[in-house]
């Protein structure tokens, strides 16, 4: 069994490129070039240099002593929250902006939900002096005002998505429509391991720096490259894909995914795609997605704006379907408590997305000598208002 992408762009039965013909030239251009470009020494050099000097990599692998004591196991946190702009998202946007430059593109578009990917995109566009347009659902613009202000300060144009449910899924639709209307000079920086092939693979490879570093850091600290478990939260699945990547083929390393259960898996307000989703097509990709019996895509719910995507990346559908990944889903309440606990025990305020991964201890007990690595995908600054409201701080 392989967990990597095949030459047709599928992970098992999931993936592919189900796109209108209008997008074919753009996506095909990317498909033909992305691996070649990524393998160029000059690309590698610039990418690594920026990750080091601009993003601040390697991000620390931190042994969380008090959290480990509480859950009676060895917990390491991979500190993506310490990256420039505060989350793992920037690993991907650095990679994609370099790709866009090498493909001769002049204009960058992106979608964003919580605004983290929008900020990370606006940041690299400022860095490279490129025009940046970010689509964001009208409702999310109201919910995430500080990130909207950041994007504007960074020189990006934020366009409200007014169609459909006016959140992440619709922002993605609008970005795709923009790309259809601007097929020649524009590159679309997708923010997660989703979309038509080659996006899931390209985003995964840019994020795979996370597991690459985990291996060498763990070797130093524990004398082994391989933990017993790697754990991440899943929205579209980019921080998870990066955290799992170098462990996919080593079945001794357990893979754990935590989705957002919202107000409860069967409450009607949830984003637990692996449980609630069925195979279908969303944003050019065959994967598990939440939909009606009639095949209309439904609106997910989570307290965290970065996890309420109605699908998951095709890699994760494959990990779920084959049983290679263990999937859990944490409710709003469980996630918020886990976030508060990390703040109290370790002095780290996580993004609410990340708090879902930390809620894994509600569902799984680890052995005392297990080495458990959790992707701390982002910091909680952007979520302070949510935490304030929730805990009456």
């Amino acid at each position: 069994m392989s967990y990597n992408i095949n030459e047709k762009g599928y992970y098992g039965e999931f993936g592919g490129a189900y796109i209108p013909e209008m997008l074919y030239p753009n996506v095909e251009e990317l498909r033909q070039n992305y691996l070649k470009v990524m393998a160029e020494p000059s690309f590698q050099e610039e990418f690594n240099q920026l990750l080091k000097d601009y993003v601040g990599r390697p991000s620390p692998l931190y042994f969380a002593k008090r959290l480990s004591k509480k859950y009676k196991t060895k917990i390491y946190l991979k500190r993506e929250d310490l990256n420039h702009t505060g989350a793992h998202k920037v690993n991907n946007t650095i990679g994609q902006i370099l790709m866009a430059q090498r493909l001769g593109k002049k204009r960058i578009i992106a979608e964003t939900g919580a605004g983290q990917h929008g900020v990370a995109t606006a940041t690299v566009c400022a860095l490279m002096g490129m025009e940046c347009i970010v689509y964001m659902g009208e409702i999310d613009i109201a919910r995430q005002a500080p990130n909207v202000a950041r994007m504007k300060m960074l020189g990006a144009t934020v366009i409200p998505a007014l169609s459909g449910s006016r959140t992440l899924k619709d922002a993605t639709n609008e970005a795709i429509r923009d790309w259809i209307n601007n097929p020649v000079d524009t590159h679309y920086i997708i923010g997660s391991a989703i979309g038509p092939h080659p996006y899931p693979d390209m985003v995964t490879k840019f994020q795979s720096i996370i597991s690459e570093e985990i291996k060498s850091q763990l070797k130093e600290k524990e004398g082994t490259e391989n933990p017993d478990y790697v754990i991440a939260c899943i929205g579209g699945g980019s921080n998870a894909a990066g955290t799992y990547y170098h462990f996919l083929e080593n079945e001794d390393v357990g893979i754990i995914a935590v989705e957002a259960a919202g107000k409860g898996i069967h409450s009607g307000e949830s984003a637990a795609t692996s449980v609630l989703g069925k195979e279908g097509i969303i944003h050019g990709c065959k994967t598990l997605l939440m939909q009606t019996d009639d095949g209309q895509i439904t609106e997910p719910y989570s307290i965290s704006a970065g996890l309420d995507y109605p699908g998951v990346g095709p890699l994760h559908s494959h990990l779920y379907r084959t049983g290679r990944g263990e999937f859990y889903s944490a409710t709003d309440d469980e996630a918020m408590q886990a976030g508060l606990e990390l703040a109290k025990l370790e002095g780290i305020i996580p993004a609410i997305e990340t708090s879902h991964a930390l809620a894994v201890f509600n569902y799984k007990t680890f052995k005392p000598d297990d080495i458990v690595v959790i992707s701390l995908s982002g910091r909680g600054d952007k979520d302070l208002n949510n935490y304030i409201e929730y805990f009456n701080l």
Binding site: G16, A17, Y18, I19, P20, E21, M22, Y24, P25, S163, G164, K169, D170, N173, I176, R177, I180, N181, N182, P183, V184, K278, E279, G280, I281, I282, H283, G284, Q291, D293, D294, G295, Q296, I297, T298
Partner: protein, 254 residues
């Protein structure tokens, strides 16, 4: 011979109209089809509404959202259309995104189309390569013509490939854009229309996207066999209702 192929043999420029099933109200579908035929339209594309129509501009998005609110589903549409061949003889094409068809079951969907008398399908997000590998035999088993899109950006090589897989007509998207009316066609479009005409493709071409009136219809059909109007028609029925559709059709074909 399939009704679409027969129609393509007629020596006239064909006018095809797209509308969203279940719009403006749920049970308007059949009336719209019958009135369009009476008004002299050559072919009809029945749009299956989808929650996330990636290739569509604001007008068709809005009509799709409304149709879904009205309660339109694949099953409801098939039920509405079950006697359509008692009153309508022109070719009917179902146009929709792939996910609802996938959920219905591609083979079941095709079987139902044949039973009703649907002649072809347009599925913008089902790529020609996937169609050829996985679905072509099913479509052929039920005598359905699948129509593919080309755009000004499509390479000659790919157009030839699409031509080789097609057995009805090729849907020529007029410009790199989502659906919706433009103010008119310029030089870029004329060049594109001429380039395609000069390729002498096996399948005739019908132009769509951006056609809204007699002028754009005539420009589009100078070389091509016909043209498709969608957004402009939907705008018309949302203001003027679904009776007297010759008010919309006559000025274009007269």
């Amino acid at each position: 011979m399939n009704r679409i192929q027969q129609k393509l043999h007629e020596h006239k420029k064909l006018l095809s109209i797209y509308f969203t099933a279940g719009y403006p109200t749920l049970n308007d579908t059949v009336t719209v089809i019958e009135n369009l035929e009476k008004a002299g339209v050559d072919m009809i594309e029945i749009g299956l509404p989808f929650s996330d129509p990636l290739a569509d501009g604001p007008t068709i998005q809005a009509s799709s959202t409304q149709a879904l609110k009205n309660g339109m589903t694949t099953t409801v549409l098939f039920e509405q259309l079950k006697d359509i061949r008692k009153t309508v003889t022109i070719p009917l094409i179902a146009m929709g995104y792939f996910n609802p068809m996938l959920q219905y079951g591609v083979e079941a969907f095709c079987a139902k189309c044949k039973e009703i008398g649907i002649d072809g399908l347009i599925i913008p997000d089902l790529p020609v390569d996937v169609y050829q590998e996985e679905y072509q035999t099913i479509f052929e088993k039920y005598g359905l013509i699948n129509v593919f899109l080309i755009t000004p950006q499509t390479s000659d090589e790919r157009i030839r490939f699409i031509d080789s897989v097609s057995n009805g007509f090729i849907y020529m998207v007029s410009s790199a854009s989502t659906t919706g009316a433009k103010s008119g066609f310029g030089n870029a479009q004329s060049n594109y229309f001429e380039r395609i005409a000069a390729m002498n493709l096996k399948n005739p071409q019908i132009v769509g996207f951006g056609i809204s009136n007699k002028q754009t219809f005539q420009q589009a059909t100078q070389q091509a066999r016909g043209a498709i109007i969608g957004s402009a028609f939907i705008k018309h029925i949302s203001t003027n209702g679904i009776a007297n559709l010759d008010q919309f059709v006559n000025p274009i074909i007269s």
